[in-house]
């Protein structure tokens, strides 16, 4: 009888413990994505340092964007300890941020930094990213303090690697 009680206590303790752990994991992996207006975001497109920046414009509903994400993640993983910074700028609608964007980033455990550009007056800011951007995504800006190149296209990992190698 004594041992039986002990087992009940033990199992309930384990049950409780694993529940806590699950809650803790959820807390740990719950991704917080900051939203910016273009004015707030614009300084991130400038640098005075030696860092190479790769800024990719995407959205969860944009299929070619999702297809190229693994290439960006792989390149980010490769260069993350160097003078390199990747930003994945989501253009998801603000209504979709909690429903689509946050779950997507959480589920896919994206390592590159994701931010949300929440500025619906696109005509006002598209040209400020690059004069040649017609406004479609995926689009990617690669820049250092001396050089900027803009690409309105999809990337394979090889293409992105070549772009960085030749920068």
């Amino acid at each position: 009888m004594k041992s039986f009680l002990f087992i009940i206590v033990l199992t309930s303790f384990i049950g409780c413990n694993s529940k806590n752990q699950k809650v803790r994991e959820e807390l740990l992996t719950k991704v917080e994505i900051s939203s910016y207006t273009f004015e707030e975001f614009a300084p991130m497109l400038q640098t005075n340092s030696d860092t190479l920046y790769v800024v990719n414009f995407w959205a969860t509903w944009c299929e070619p964007c999702i297809e190229e994400l693994p290439a960006f993640e792989a390149i980010n993983e490769k260069y993350k300890n160097q003078k390199f910074k990747m930003l994945l700028v989501s253009l998801d609608f603000s209504k979709q941020k909690e429903k689509k964007l946050t779950p997507f980033v959480t589920k896919n455990q994206l390592k590159a930094q994701v931010i949300h550009l929440n500025d619906p007056d696109a005509n006002a800011w598209i040209e400020k990213v690059d004069a040649n951007w017609s406004g479609s995504i995926p689009a990617t800006l690669v820049f250092t303090k001396d050089k900027r190149v803009f690409f309105e296209q999809s990337f394979t990992k090889e293409q992105l690697q070549n772009t960085i190698d030749n920068f």
Binding site: A59, W61, C62, E63, P64, L91, F93, S94, K95, P120, D121, A122, N123, A124, I126, E127, W133, S134, G135, S136, I137, P138, F151, E152, Q153, S154, Q159, N162, T163, D165, N166
Partner: protein, 203 residues
């Protein structure tokens, strides 16, 4: 040295790939004469601009089913057609996407969407994707306002519908309405081009 050659080859290759990915470097500018077309509507009939004998011009909108920006603008596109068709500027919607690349933009699903939303305007499929590159459409939705003249259909505005894709009630500037109103009043369009955010055309 070898490395350098490989890099240069890589660069050349990437330039080639990048440029070949973008066949739309050209396209129309303001003042150009836009081509007519004969494209299939969701009712099975072929539609051309020349069919519209009484039109003063056209609001040509490259749009589609699958793109959230296009969906966000559907009601506003219907409103544009209702407002301006009777004044001589009907909406002509063209789906520029390759349905093999984006099955949601198939002809069958265009018919479904047109019926669901009660489109009051033709919704045409750019079969073979011959028309959108001539216009220079790069995304959906992408608007080209044409004015019918003795020389042909002159491009008078290229760009976005308005300045807020997400919240119609927060729109401050209605680019398309402003342009069509100017043309109807025989005035020059003030804002002739804007940049619209949109989904890339699926080739």
């Amino acid at each position: 040295m070898k490395k350098k050659i490989i890099y240069s080859l890589g660069l050349l290759l990437s330039i080639f790939l990048f440029t070949s990915n973008q066949p739309i470097a050209s396209g129309y500018g303001i003042g150009d004469i836009a081509t007519d077309f004969s494209l299939k509507n969701t009712d099975g009939k072929m539609v051309s601009l020349k069919d519209y004998k009484d039109a003063k011009g056209f609001i040509v909108i490259f749009t589609c089913n699958h793109c959230p920006y296009a969906v966000a603008y559907e009601d506003r596109i219907i409103a544009l057609d209702k407002k301006y068709k009777s004044k001589g500027y009907p909406v002509i919607a063209i789906n520029p996407n390759n349905p093999e690349k984006q099955p949601k933009d198939s002809y069958d699903l265009m018919q479904v969407r047109s019926k669901e939303k009660g489109f009051t305007f033709p919704y045409l499929l750019d079969e073979g994707q011959k028309i959108y590159p001539q216009y220079g459409a790069t995304k959906t939705p992408h608007v080209f306002i044409l004015e019918k003249t003795s020389k042909g259909n002159v491009v008078q505005y290229i760009g976005a519908i308005d300045d807020n894709h997400e919240e119609p009630k927060n729109v401050k500037v209605k680019y398309v309405e402003d342009a069509v109103d100017a043309l109807l009043n025989k005035k020059e369009v003030v804002v002739k081009t804007t940049k619209a955010i949109g989904c890339s055309i699926k080739v």
